[in-house]
C-alpha cells in the first residue's frame, strides 16, 4: 500500500523520499516463522481511562510468554478515527487496530486496510454479540470483543419518593412516558425531572431502528422514526425531561443529571454501569440506590421477563492491518481469537467492561463488583437482550447517519416538524447517497 501512495505523490516529494530513505520501519526481528519472540502492536485509545487494551494485552502475554503486545496510544472520541486514518493512509498504523465506529468498517474494508480473518470468526462462539453482521460478502474482516447494549437506569429512591412503581420489565415506551410524567409531578422539585434524554441521535433513532418491525436504514423510508420522535417531543413539552435546547446549550451530562439525582431515570449504554459505580465511590455522584431494567419496548410482544427485549448497541471490533508483516499474521490472529473469546471476555468483565460474549462467568463477575445492583431485574436486563446494531454494516451507513443526525437536531430543537424533517431526509438520501 505504501508503494501506491508514493507513486501518486508529486515527483519532488518522491525524489526527496529517496534521499531521506524510508523511515519508521518495524523492529528488525523479521523471523520467518513465529517461533522465538514475536511483537505485535495494538492501537487503542486513552489508556489512562480506558484500561481494556492493557488488560487484554497483559492477559494474552501471560498465556503466551513469547509474545509481546505493544500498545500504541491514540486519542479517544472521534479523534481516534481521524488519527488512525492518517496512519493507515501513510502505512504507519499498528498491526492490530480497533474498528471503533461500526459505520466506518465497510470503508476500511473496501479501502483494503483490513485482512480477511474469516478463519478467526469461524472459531468464535456464534453467540458472540454482533459477530454475524460483520460478514461482508461472506468474509469477515473484524471481530467484536466488546458490546454495550442500551438499558434503562432508574433511581429507586426517587421512584419511592414519587410513589411510582419500579419498572418490572413490562414497559413499552408509552409506559415510560407515563411514568416520567408521574415522577416529575410526584417528586415535585423544580430542577428534578422524571426522565433525562441525552442529546445524541442514537437515543431516539437507535431504538426506533432496532425495535420497529421492518425498519431499515438503507430502505429510504424513515417514517418509522415518527412515533419515537413524537413521544420524546411530547415529553419535553410537558416538562418530564429537560428540552433538547437546554441539554445542548447547557451541555448537560447524563452522568451529572442521573448521578446527582436531577433525573429519576435515563436510557443509556451498559458502559455507564462502571462509570456510575466509580462515581458513587469517588463522591462525584450522590449515594443512592439504583437499578437496571430492560429498555422500554416498541409494543407488548417483547416485554416481560419471559421474552427477550430488543435494544441496540454497536459492537466494538478488532481487525488486523492488511499491511502487517507476514510473519506476524498467525500471532495476530491468535490474539484476536483470544480477545473475542471467553478468556478475553472474562478479563474484560473483571474491569467492569461488557464483552461481546456474555456468559454466566461474565455476569457473575460483573454483578460481583461492589456497588452494582443485586436485584433480579438488573441481572436479567444485563444478560438477556437482542441487541441490534445502531449502524448496520453497509456502504452508505455513514452518509445516511449524517443526514439523520441533521434530522435529529432539526426535530428535537423543534425547528422543523417531524413529518417535514423526515420527508426532507428521505429526499436527501435519494439525492446524495447512492
Amino acid at each position: 500500500m505504501n508503494r501506491k501512495i508514493i507513486t501518486t505523490m508529486g515527483a519532488a516529494a518522491a525524489a526527496s523520499l529517496v534521499l531521506a530513505g524510508c523511515g519508521g520501519g518495524d523492529s528488525p526481528s523479521e523471523a520467518e516463522e513465529p517461533e522465538g519472540p514475536v511483537t505485535i502492536s495494538l492501537a487503542g485509545w486513552d489508556f489512562a481511562s480506558t484500561p481494556e487494551f492493557e488488560t487484554l494485552a497483559t492477559a494474552y502475554e501471560d498465556q503466551n510468554p513469547d509474545v509481546t503486545v505493544e500498545l500504541k496510544e491514540y486519542p479517544a472520541g472521534e479523534e481516534y478515527d481521524t488519527a488512525l486514518t492518517a496512519d493507515l493512509a501513510a502505512g504507519t498504523a499498528p498491526d492490530v487496530f480497533i474498528v471503533k465506529n461500526l459505520k466506518n468498517y465497510v470503508t476500511f474494508q473496501e479501502g483494503g486496510t483490513l485482512l480477511d480473518i474469516s478463519d478467526v470468526a469461524a472459531e468464535l462462539d456464534p453467540a458472540t454479540g454482533g459477530l454475524e453482521p460483520m460478514a461482508v460478502d461472506g468474509a469477515t474482516y473484524a471481530v467484536p470483543y466488546r458490546q454495550d447494549s442500551w438499558l434503562l437506569y432508574y433511581n429507586k429512591e426517587l421512584f419511592d419518593q414519587a410513589g411510582v412503581d419500579h419498572p418490572d420489565g413490562s414497559w413499552t415506551w408509552d409506559d415510560y412516558a407515563d411514568a416520567a410524567a408521574e415522577l416529575t409531578e410526584g417528586i415535585g422539585e423544580k430542577d428534578v425531572t422524571g426522565a433525562y434524554l441525552h442529546g445524541w441521535q442514537s437515543t431516539v433513532q437507535g431504538f426506533a431502528l432496532a425495535q420497529t418491525p421492518g425498519a431499515s436504514l438503507d430502505g429510504g423510508d424513515f417514517s418509522f422514526l415518527a412515533p419515537y420522535y413524537e413521544r420524546q417531543l411530547a415529553m419535553q413539552d410537558e416538562g418530564s425531561q429537560p428540552t433538547y435546547a437546554t441539554v445542548t446549550t447547557n451541555e448537560l451530562a447524563y452522568q451529572s443529571q442521573f448521578g446527582t439525582q436531577k433525573a429519576a431515570m435515563t436510557v443509556m449504554g451498559s458502559w455507564y454501569i462502571g462509570t456510575l459505580v466509580a462515581e458513587q465511590a469517588s463522591g462525584d455522584a450522590d449515594e443512592f440506590e439504583w437499578g437496571l431494567a430492560p429498555a422500554p419496548q416498541f409494543d407488548e410482544s417483547t416485554t416481560g421477563t419471559d421474552n427477550t427485549p430488543v435494544t441496540f448497541g454497536d459492537p466494538t471490533t478488532m481487525g488486523i492491518n492488511a499491511g502487517i508483516d507476514e510473519a506476524k499474521i498467525a500471532t495476530a490472529k491468535d490474539f484476536l481469537t483470544f480477545a473475542a473469546g471467553p478468556d478475553g471476555a472474562a478479563a474484560l468483565a473483571e474491569i467492569g467492561i461488557t464483552p461481546a460474549l456474555i456468559d454466566e462467568t461474565v455476569a457473575d463477575t460483573v454483578f460481583g463488583l461492589e456497588g452494582v445492583p443485586q436485584d433480579d431485574l438488573s441481572r436479567f436486563a444485563y444478560t438477556t437482550h437482542e441487541t441490534l446494531p445502531e449502524n448496520p454494516v453497509g456502504p452508505n451507513t455513514s452518509a445516511i447517519q449524517t443526514i439523520l443526525g441533521d434530522l435529529h437536531s432539526a426535530v428535537m430543537s423543534e425547528s422543523e416538524s417531524v413529518d417535514d424533517a423526515i420527508a426532507d431526509a428521505q429526499e436527501r438520501v435519494a439525492n446524495e447517497v447512492g
Binding site: I5, I6, M9, A13, S16, L17, A20, G21, C22, G23, G24, W45, D46, A48, S49, T50, K72, E73, Y74, P75, A76, G77, E79, T82, A83, T85, A86, D87, A89, A90, G91, T92, D191, P242, T246, N250, E251, L252, A253, Q255, S256, G259, T260, G269, W271, Y272, T275, E279, D284, A285
Partner: protein
C-alpha cells in the same frame, strides 16, 4: 488635548471608561467562566441554570492537573514548538516580505498571489497528503513535524509585506545611495522600523501554535511528545469528560500568553521611527 478640560469632556471620559469596563467584563466572561469551572467538581460544571459560584471550591484541581496530567512535559513541548515556529516564521517571513515589497523580479506578484491562495485552502483538505509525505521522511511522531507544519506559513510573509509597503520607498532609495546593500537595508532599516508588525506577528504566531490542536492530533502519538492541547484532550473519554480539569488546564495554558502579551505591550504601539527620519 489637555487644552480645555471642561466638565463635559470629563464626563465624556468617565462614560467612556465606564463603557470600556462593561465591555471588558463582557468580553472576559468566557474566561471568567473557565476560571470558575476550574474550581468546581466535574458534575457541577454543566448545569441548568448556570451556577456562578462553585460550591464547594475545589482548589485541588490545580494540584490534580499536575498529578493526573503530565503538565510539565506538555508545557515543555508546547513551549519548544511555539518558540521555534515563531522564530522561523518571523525571520523567514520578514526576510521574504522584503523581497516581495521592495525588490522587483519577474513573477513576483503571481508568486505572492500563490502564497495568499494557499491560505484559502483549508488545512484539513490537504493534511493527509502532507502527512503521508512527512511520515515517509520519518518525521511523523516527532516535534519537528509540528515545527515544519507551522513555520513557513504564508501569513507571516503577507503581514510583513503589507507593513513594509507602508514604509516609504524613498527611505530604501536613500539608503541605497548611501551604499547599503539590500540585505543591509532589510537588517538596518526595515527590521528596526517594523517592530510593531514583528510584535504582532510574534504574538499571533505564538498563540496559534500554542493553541493548535489538529496538527498535534494527526502527528504526535507518544505521550512524551504531547502538547498542552493534546494532553488536555486526554481528559475527554469516550463517554465521560473531566471538564473541570480541562478548564483548569486551559486556565494554566492561557496564563503564559497573557503575561507575554502584557509584557510586550509597548512594542505594539511603538511609534516607528519615520518620525525621526527627517532632514
Amino acid at each position: 488635548m489637555a487644552a480645555r478640560p471642561t466638565a463635559l469632556r470629563k464626563t465624556g471620559r468617565v462614560l467612556l471608561y465606564l463603557a470600556m469596563i462593561v465591555a471588558a467584563a463582557g468580553i472576559l466572561l468566557p474566561f471568567v467562566w473557565m476560571v470558575i469551572s476550574s474550581l468546581k467538581t466535574n458534575n457541577q460544571v454543566f448545569t441548568a441554570p448556570i451556577e456562578w459560584i462553585p460550591d464547594p471550591f475545589r482548589w485541588r484541581n490545580y494540584v490534580d492537573i499536575w498529578i493526573k496530567g503530565d503538565m510539565v512535559t506538555w508545557v515543555r513541548n508546547t513551549m519548544t514548538v511555539s518558540v521555534v515556529v515563531t522564530l522561523l516564521q518571523v525571520v523567514t517571513g520578514s526576510f521574504a516580505a522584503y523581497g516581495f515589497a521592495k525588490t522587483r523580479f519577474p513573477g513576483r506578484d503571481a508568486l505572492f498571489l500563490l502564497y495568499i491562495g494557499t491560505i484559502a485552502v483549508p488545512w484539513a483538505s490537504y493534511m493527509i497528503p502532507q502527512f503521508q509525505m512527512l511520515s515517509s521522511w520519518g518525521l511523523a511522531n516527532t516535534l519537528y513535524s509540528i515545527m515544519l507544519l507551522q513555520a513557513f506559513g504564508a501569513f507571516g510573509v503577507f503581514l510583513m509585506k503589507q507593513y513594509y509597503e507602508s514604509i516609504p520607498d524613498s527611505l530604501c532609495e536613500a539608503a541605497r545611495i548611501d551604499g547599503l546593500s539590500e540585505y543591509g537595508i532589510w537588517w538596518r532599516i526595515m527590521l528596526p522600523l517594523s517592530v510593531p508588525a514583528l510584535a504582532s506577528l510574534t504574538i499571533i504566531t505564538f498563540v496559534t501554535t500554542w493553541n493548535d490542536y489538529l496538527g498535534p492530533l494527526i502527528y504526535l502519538r507518544d505521550r512524551e511528545l504531547w502538547t498542552i492541547q493534546l494532553g488536555l484532550q486526554r481528559f475527554v473519554g469516550d463517554y465521560n469528560a473531566e471538564h473541570a480539569l480541562i478548564m483548569t488546564g486551559s486556565v494554566l495554558s492561557v496564563l503564559p500568553i497573557a503575561i507575554v502579551f502584557l509584557l510586550g505591550q509597548r512594542y505594539f504601539v511603538q511609534g516607528i521611527a519615520t518620525t525621526g527620519v527627517k532632514g
